[in-house]
């Protein structure tokens, strides 16, 4: 079904209107409609100009400024970008930015892996697996209980006295207790496992709605044709919710450099677990405003924003293509 518009020129109703009413009346009516539209979206537009453009333009300008005289004055400069360049191409792969960038992509990769997992959770809920009523409630817990509790608990679970390490010790995998979050080999992985633990639950909400809106006739038709459950999933259900997946992928991409997970609560960025967004946060958090670090953070933000835009548009382009094929 296509959405259709009130005053669409091709709409037969509009054409009929045009015949019936005089042009002046039509114009008056149009003006009235515009006035109505303005009345319901005007404030949002003002809001956008003030709170979005106003704020962000300033942020972009900050990227091109550096502080002087102990932060009391500033001048235009490209030094912030020069520093980013230096971090990337002079300091080499052990620089903060490279490590953070690498981790950012690892987290992104993880979120891609989470797609099918979230889908399958939603699918089984949709298929009313035993206990789905309870699962639906329990799986919402991670979203409602504060991250402070989850991260504290998680730290205990993976801690040296926790059940996991004790089990490994019993198996003889480790000679002595280790602290996963304080070990450069395991810290990042341990943070990622936490993301999976918290993420599995949220995923089903995303697809639950889309699945519930699949017309029952479509499913029933398939069942009458005698297709098995696997084919039903692959050939009927997945294509139907593909647009939702596409949108999710796009949003995931948009959030590539802004989502920071729970690094602050788990490791504080130590042991090579920092990401780009955490790096920006760390340059602003508890730093006096007179410091140029704010400007540097703005520059990092701007660089990665600029890098993301083309990627997002390319992905969008391909997603639209796929959708066109499917429908």
């Amino acid at each position: 079904m296509e959405s259709y518009q009130v005053n669409d020129k091709t709409n037969p109703q509009s054409v009929a209107d045009e015949l019936k009413l005089g042009k002046s009346i039509l114009r008056k009516r149009k003006a009235k409609t515009y006035l109505f539209i303005l009345s319901i979206i005007g404030l949002q537009l003002v809001n956008l100009i003030v709170f979005y453009f106003g704020v962000n333009i300033n942020s972009i300008l900050m990227a091109f400024q550096i502080k002087q005289d102990a932060g009391k004055t500033w001048i235009w400069s490209l030094d912030n970008f020069a520093n980013i360049y230096k971090q990337f191409f002079v300091s080499g792969s052990s620089s903060e930015l490279w490590i953070a960038l690498g981790n950012t992509f690892k987290f992104f990769g993880l979120s891609l892996v989470m797609f099918p997992i979230a889908f399958s959770t939603s699918y089984f809920m949709y298929k009313k697996i035993l206990g789905h009523g309870i699962f639906k409630i329990v799986f919402f817990f991670p979203s409602i209980v504060s991250g402070v509790v989850w991260s504290t608990l998680y730290k205990e679970i993976v801690g040296p006295q926790g059940p996991i390490i004790q089990m490994f010790l019993n198996f003889g995998w480790f000679e002595e207790p280790i602290v996963l979050l304080d070990d450069i080999r395991y810290a990042l992985g341990t943070v990622m496992v936490y993301s999976v633990w918290m993420g599995i639950a949220g995923g089903f909400i995303l697809y639950g709605g889309a699945l519930s809106r699949i017309p029952t006739e479509v499913i029933e038709a398939g069942q009458l044709d005698g297709i098995n459950w696997f084919n039903e999933m692959v050939r009927v259900i997945i294509p139907l919710i593909f647009p939702t997946m596409g949108t999710m992928l796009l949003l995931q991409l948009c959030g590539l450099f802004t989502a920071s997970g729970n690094i602050l609560l788990l490791t504080g960025g130590a042991r090579n677990t920092s990401t780009i967004s955490f790096l920006i946060f760390a340059n602003v958090y508890k730093v006096p405003e007179t410091s140029n670090k704010y400007n540097y953070a703005s520059a990092v933000g701007l660089v990665f924003t600029t890098l993301t835009i083309p990627i997002v548009f390319i992905v969008r382009y391909f997603l639209n293509k796929i959708e066109d094929v499917e429908y």
Partner: protein, 512 residues
């Protein structure tokens, strides 16, 4: 479903009316300043750190008795606040802050200079001399003004489980090498030498740095000045971070203390400070670098079963001996000499030294160094306050003998200033822990080491320490041996970090 929501919404609206209406005004709404009756209205903000707030209430009561024309309002917070001073100066009703604010110097323009307070005489001496002239020097900004003075004091260093020490016959070490040997003994006794909160090792490292560089030179580091061996100096330069021998020598000790299996409590690197202190009080490690607040902060964890806790004198960095041309045994002899527990042979050796006076004085200073966590707890008067005079009057009272006595009696924390007669304590009802801290602090040779951040190189560039890479993470034992850096690797990494980033640090600091 429909009815559900109507009910929920009605219930919530009712709750909003009941709670929201009253709380919306919470915290704000105090005009501050002189009220209609001509009574001065002094609003005090207090961060209820480890020391609690009872003592402040007692000080206020006494102050009110003396100044009935001033109406004091105390606002408590479990979180420190400072940003109102510069972010929203016009709507800030607080007249006096007792809080913590790292890098506050960036906002000096919003603060009232406290010079006249510092120079006020109470009990026959200036407040500056009560606080300590050297501390006031550290707090003096480039423009010659003092904007913050300490309201609390913590004597920091290495605390130990005196009960177990006594049971096992362990002696407090005189040098860092003795400390390392002691750790080895403990490990062979199946004891865990260290439990710690990573950050607090800075008390030890800075103290050791001051031992090596001398306290006077260390204090100059705080102002961005590095003094070379030949006496030449450089200011705001990279030397402080890459040519700093004192720092290197202090860090060199760490691998021998925390670098081997069994020397540290497993997982201690991830502990917060209260958790590590809880473990320490329950015997999971015999030594912990922390501060004199330990007992008061952990008052919920103290019971009859809690062992005796004491602070030890800073073990003298063994490399100070090399600096003075002494070998380890000779250094131990000099330390014993200044401690007053030297054997006859040791005394003889010290007396035979050619430059005895200089050596003894140098070692004595090193032995009596302690780290003082005072500057971190600062009091401020916002420039926009309309009750500045009342605030200043209150501070004068706070630092008077009368005020200090109330603090001593109600809280037991170490005082932010001395009494008029130079003493640090009036009563002697203190616990073992506080008594040992007082011995360290009240000793006539004691010199405190502090960190201040009044220069843009520190506060604007976000430099909190004289090192960049976390030395504890780098040196502490981990089951994964490849993760430990050797001392030389660490220094190399430090050097390349500072070299690579120095130009950016200067930009960040606004010094480029």
């Amino acid at each position: 479903m429909k009815n559900y929501f109507n009910r929920i919404i009605v219930a919530f609206v009712a709750m909003i009316v009941a709670l929201g209406a009253t709380a919306c005004a919470g915290g704000s709404g105090n005009g501050g300043g002189a009220s209609a009756g001509g009574k001065d209205n002094l609003e005090i903000f207090m961060w209820t750190a480890g020391y609690g707030s009872d003592y402040m209430k007692a000080v206020i009561t006494a102050f009110k008795d003396k100044n009935p024309d001033i109406n004091v309002e105390l606002k408590l917070s479990s979180a420190p606040a400072f940003s109102d001073i510069y972010l929203d100066p016009d709507n800030n009703s607080v007249d006096l802050y007792f809080t913590t604010a790292w890098g506050y110097s960036a906002y000096n323009e919003y603060l009232e200079p406290l010079n006249d307070i510092v120079n006020t005489e109470v009990d026959g001496v200036t407040i500056a001399s009560k606080i300590g002239e050297s501390t006031v020097d550290l707090l003096t900004a480039k423009d010659g003004n003092v904007y913050s003075i300490p309201w609390a004091n913590g004597v920091c260093g290495l605390f130990y489980n005196a009960t177990v020490f006594e049971q096992n016959g362990y002696k407090a070490p005189k040098t860092t090498r003795q400390l390392a040997d002691l750790c080895a003994t403990m490990v062979s006794d199946k004891q865990t030498p260290f439990i710690y909160y990573k950050e607090y090792w800075k008390y030890m490292i800075n103290g050791w740095m001051a031992q090596y560089a001398t306290v006077a030179n260390f204090n100059k580091y705080n102002l961005g000045v590095y003094t070379f061996d030949d006496g030449t100096t450089s200011e705001n330069s990279i030397d402080l971070f890459i040519n700093n021998t004192a720092r290197d020598k202090a860090l060199e000790v760490l691998p021998s203390l925390i670098g081997s299996k069994g020397y540290i409590y497993t997982g201690t690197n991830t502990l917060t400070h209260t958790v590590s202190q809880t473990y320490f009080l329950n015997g999971r490690g015999l030594m912990i670098p922390t501060g004199s607040w330990l007992e008061y902060e952990m008052r919920n964890s103290i019971s009859d079963k809690t062992p005796d806790i004491k602070i030890m004198k800073y073990p003298v960095l063994s490399s100070v001996g090399q600096l003075l041309g002494l070998n380890e045994n000779q250094l131990v002899a000099v330390v014993a000499y200044v401690d007053g527990d030297a054997t006859a042979a040791q005394k003889e050796f010290v007396d035979s030294l050619e430059n005895k006076e200089a050596v003894v004085e140098r070692v004595r200073e090193a032995r009596n160094v302690y780290f003082s966590e005072r500057i971190g707890h600062g009091t401020f008067i916002p420039k926009k306050s309309d009750a500045k005079e009342a605030a200043k009057k209150f501070l004068q009272f706070y630092y008077s003998d009368e005020g200090l006595k109330i603090i001593e009696d109600t809280c037991g924390m170490l005082l932010p200033a001395k009494y008029g007669d130079g003493s640090v304590r009036k009563s002697n009802s203190d616990t073992t822990l506080i008594t040992s801290c007082l011995e360290l602090q009240g000793n006539e040779y004691a010199s405190s080491v502090e960190r201040s951040y009044t220069i843009p190189l520190f506060y604007n560039a976000g430099i909190e320490n004289f090192w960049y890479f976390d030395p504890i993470g780098a040196f502490s034992y981990n089951a994964n041996t490849s993760q430990i850096w050797t001392y030389n690797q660490y220094l190399e990494k430090e050097k390349s970090y500072w070299n690579d980033n120095w130009s950016q640090i200067l930009i960040d600091a606004g010094l480029a």
